[in-house]
Assembly symmetry: C2
Homo-oligomer: 380 residues x 2
């Protein structure tokens, strides 16, 4: 390596949202010099980085010029210009996750095909070009229809339950996935460094908001059998190894009623399903991401205590400058850790922050999570 | 209160060293808008704060002008201009710890007198004006002689063991303290908010570097009896309450061989003896300091696992741009958490960072701490 850890490595992050913000928080421990690129001058990282560039993540020149000043370049969002990243890689920059991995994951069609080609268990699917093609597959319903590109945080995903739903299908290249009658949705975060060391975090259980298609709650550990946990762990290791990827990968999976585990989709970066690792695990997902891309030994992922995570979403029906209700009540809950993302403007379901709750007692943990969800409100 | 938590409170911190740096790291969770004042343009906080003012902490105008732009003002070092802070307080700013508390603690003579006047157990002492007066107290030896003002990180403290040592005594107002034949040096960190809520962290054990008079190691919990721990906890609560102080107070104490607990000295801010709370306790000392000065409910101080802390001091015999040795070896230790302070220049015994080690097994914890102390070296 051209650089040595702790000696002022310049790390460029594409994206200045909450994931970048928590990555910055963690990076301070390692004397890293952080640069941020984001199109929003009000991004969560804008005021906390001394090197913030306002520019497009999708523009070749913006990404290339930004990357040229850095030693290592990473992402906190997949939707970036990978041509520029490929050029930076050619010029000798460390780019992790690698541009070819980002490209594969950017397109859910390619991602799905990769699982099939590599014997990674996933739900049955059909690749479609447009609405007309979707309409020909009434016999495949109920299904989930996903846009190939540009989906994020619940956008670009639709449920097609019956024939009447077909006429509302996206009219762009997408993937039609068989609806899985799952028991539990789980996530395993796995890291891999340049030396090939791989470590996984224990599986967590995700509970989605029914309308917003966003993670609303999370519990760790997931309420699954040891056998299912082992399967999920093996699959996560298998995916990152077959991708030959360096960095952090969140592998979202379905645990089915028959005991199977199927990959739903992956994200090559810190993920909403790993926020609780800041308090609950020996190493946080943010530090693990840094360790992986800087090629240092990976940290222990051991969970110190059970934990829950509640996403703080902008309240429905409110848009404008955020006003927080119930803050003192939540701060008074022992084991509750509030994380706000520095966003002053709220709108329905906008991710404004999260609260992690750590408690040795599982029942009390769930009570506290429910109380916090019902108490802390973000209005305008 | 004129402000509500999470709504963009502007917090000014006097001092931009490592304690300020870790306070910034913690403050990001609460959307606080942080401003820093420090005389060193290369201070650990300089590059990580979007609002860094280069100025003197001892100058009335620098401190006053800095404070005027803030809602709440706090310190990460005691040696600041309290006249300016008193004026800011008069003008309605929240200044915590209060200027009168900072003044009392700034002068070790006044501090010591306060313990005596308030029935807080402390070692016998004599206030002295100059070297001549010290020399008259040969019968009081062995003693520790401390300068009243300006001592910091081991400076301004000397051992006077025998009559021959007296001629080397500081020739300024100071305090001569009876040398205590202690069993253990311990610290209890206590917080108190404006509502009067008080919470203590469990006592930790401090092991000092014999030459540098700096904390070299720390173990939590301290190896003391429950009775001694209870005494120490009661004393810490008593001191902060009698000071009528708002904020965080580190109370350093001697546990004597006869089971007594005596206050050595206090610091009204996050402290070296609380670094390990970031990983090992439910709430970190940094977050607890913020909770106290922002008058929110205090967090749980419960320790999740035993921990040790090793200060990373600049190696003796080296001065210049820092070079780190043994980094990968230390990163490979499960449960080791490296914190660097963003200082590029090292000199002997300069505090460059620390490592916290968390491990359920006490023996393994001590082995890991020793290994890290012997492996990670900061040279030039």
């Amino acid at each position: 390596m051209a650089f040595s850890l702790f000696q002022g490595v310049k790390l460029g992050i594409l994206g200045g949202g909450q994931l970048g913000r928590m990555l910055i928080q963690s990076s301070l421990d390692f004397n890293l010099d952080i640069a941020i690129l984001d199109p929003d001058p009000q991004a969560p990282c804008a005021r906390i980085s001394s090197n913030f560039t306002n520019g497009s993540l999708k523009d070749y020149t913006d990404v290339y010029e930004f990357g040229k000043q850095c030693d290592v370049i990473t992402v906190e969002i997949e939707n970036v210009n990978t041509e520029a990243l490929r050029q930076l890689e050619l010029e000798g920059k460390k780019v992790f996750p690698q541009p070819r991995v980002i490209e594969l994951i950017q397109d859910k069609r390619v991602q799905k095909q990769f699982y099939q080609d590599n014997n990674i268990p996933t739900s049955p699917f059909i690749l479609t070009q447009d609405r007309n093609e979707v309409m020909r597959h009434a016999d495949f319903l109920p299904a989930v229809h996903k846009l190939g590109k540009e989906g994020y945080d619940g956008r670009g995903v639709q449920m097609l339950r019956q024939v009447e739903d077909l006429s509302k299908a996206f009219d762009k290249p997408g993937v039609l996935e068989k609806l899985i009658d799952f028991e539990t949705e789980i996530s395993v975060i796995v890291a891999r460094n340049e030396d090939g060391q791989v470590r996984t975090f224990p599986a967590v259980e995700l509970i989605y908001h029914p309308e917003a298609n966003l993670v609303e709650y999370l519990f760790a550990p997931a309420n699954i059998s040891e056998a299912v946990a082992k399967k999920a762990d093996d699959i996560a290791r298998d995916v990152i190894t077959k991708l030959d990827m360096v960095g952090l990968l969140a592998v979202e999976m379905f645990a089915t009623k028959s005991g199977d585990v199927l990959v739903n989709e992956v994200a090559p970066r810190p993920h909403n399903s790993g926020h609780q690792t800041i308090e609950a695990n020996q190493t946080s997902q943010y530090e693990q991401h840094l360790r992986a891309i800087l090629n240092t030994p990976l940290g222990s992922t051991e969970a110190l205590q059970p934990s829950a995570m509640v996403n703080l979403l902008g309240e429905e029906g409110f848009e404008g400058m955020a006003k927080y209700e119930g803050t003192d009540e939540v701060m008074a809950v022992d084991g509750a850790h509030v994380h706000l993302y520095g966003k002053s403007y709220t709108k329905p379901f906008r991710k404004m922050g999260h609260v992690t709750i750590v408690d040795a007692d599982l029942e009390r943990l769930k009570e506290k999570a429910t109380y916090i969800k019902n108490t802390l409100k973000i209005k305008a």
